[in-house]
Amino acid sequence: MQLRRHLLTLWSACAMVVALLAVGCTSQPTAGSSPGPAFNATDTAWILLMIPMAERAQLLTDLAPSRTADPSLAQLAAKTGSTLRGDLRRLRAVLRLSGAPDTHPHEGHDMPGMVSLGTLEKAAATNGQAFDRILIDALRADFTQSRLLCADEQTHGQADEATELAAAIARSTAEQITQLDKLRAAQPATSGDETTVAPGPDATVSRTSVASRTPAL
């Protein structure tokens, strides 16, 4: 179909131009060098899903300092938060490189594995072991999905910048899962219902006691 060939060629041509411009800006052209492959639809879809997932996970890890009673978990949350911030920087950079518009396809929406809005609400309203359980379970689900998505991207994505970032995130996520599982194994066994503490004077008291028990990090 003439129309379809023209349309798809137009899209590939645009993507190619963007990739060419990107390579020109960031590397010394050598004789015989050629630009990397263009961004395909999987690359774009992967980036546009990874960004909101990382943003949501970061919202959760940001809650940890004031809510967890466990110093190792506080440390893991801090490390995860900083990894997520780095991932977000690189994801946004790759998105700019791709030239694809950010259509925010998943904004305000809970995707599989994503830390849900409900989870964030619950986490914000608890502290101590109840918070820890929420944090651990939600992060693990996020990491697991993240690893799956990065594996898919490496297999079916096209642009080197995207597939390489996927490989890097997959590696760091695998490490984080290992650390998380160690902490999870060390968690006390679940004892009855989770206690949900609404923000208020109690929360302030808990924060103070966490601060007094937490050794200097």
């Binding site: 179909m1 899903l49 991207e153």
Partner: protein, 263 residues
């Protein structure tokens, strides 16, 4: 292509249809998340039985089993899966109506193979009390007898079933098979004409989905969230001649056709 002669007594509305049963479910979306199986909320697929994260126009055209009649419609149609509690409730049918809301339906042309679009918005999470536009309703004897506790879903009389109609845009920019948000290459007409940036009239699609349930005070949820997040995806893989005939015979002539494309 000469349009078929319309016998007397045929209802004179522009319309043909694909009548589909539920095919399969996957957390896949070949339009929004191509190449990323498991990345999506759960979708219930109708039509082409091979639809998954890797589907392309070619793969749809070469995989012929479909849950729709007629057999030469190899298109993929999908919606978020409906849940009652933790149980998925699959539709008893999806009828895809192809009609026209234009003052002059004779301007309608068929979509090319590979054309795709989305209707509705998975991100919308707002209440849908009785009377909301695009709401779920009750089809059958007794109709609606109340609402769910959250007010967002109807409760139907015992013989009435939960039903939904999702209407797609009617006008196309005539150039792009898709767009980054899968919507910007099409538009809805409000004056019965296709003009401006969207000059090409395409058949107006509606998904009419019926579920074997009358609902309860517990209500439902979609894999995408609240009732307001209902959305539908259409990935065209009709046989060109089959689609072309139907547009000519049923839409441009304003004559209601059956799923075989005849009167």
């Amino acid at each position: 292509m000469t349009p078929a002669a319309v016998p007397a007594g045929i209802v004179r509305v522009p319309e043909f249809n694909a009548t589909c049963s539920y095919s399969h479910s996957k957390p896949d979306d070949p339009i929004v998340l191509p190449g990323l199986p498991g990345a999506s909320h759960m979708h219930s697929f109708f039509g082409n039985k091979s639809t998954d994260a890797f589907s392309t126009t070619q793969s749809l055209l070469t995989n012929t089993p479909t849950s729709c009649t007629p057999a030469n419609d190899l298109s993929a149609y999908w919606i978020p899966t409906l849940y009652e509690g933790d149980k998925a409730v699959e539709a008893e049918s999806m009828i895809v109506y192809y009609g026209s809301r234009l003052i002059d339906p004779s301007a309608t042309v068929p979509f090319p193979q590979g054309f795709r679009m989305i209707a509705g918005n998975a991100k919308t999470q707002t209440p849908t009390p009785a009377g909301s536009p695009g709401q779920y309703w009750c089809a059958g004897e007794g109709g609606e007898i109340g609402r769910s506790a959250d007010g967002n879903w109807p409760r139907c009389a015992p013989k009435a079933h939960l039903t939904h109609q999702l209407v797609f845009p009617d006008c196309w920019d005539g150039k792009n098979l898709d767009s980054p948000d899968h919507k910007s290459h099409v538009a809805t007409t409000y004056d019965g004409k296709c003009s401006g940036a969207y000059p090409v009239a395409i058949p107006n699609i509606s998904f009419v989905v019926s579920y074997p349930t009358s609902g309860s005070t517990a209500g439902f949820r979609l894999a995408s969230g609240m009732a307001s997040s209902i959305h539908g995806d259409f990935f065209n893989a009709w046989d060109n001649a089959g689609l072309g005939h139907r547009v000519k015979d049923c839409i441009t002539q304003k004559a209601k056709c059956n799923s075989a494309g005849t009167f």
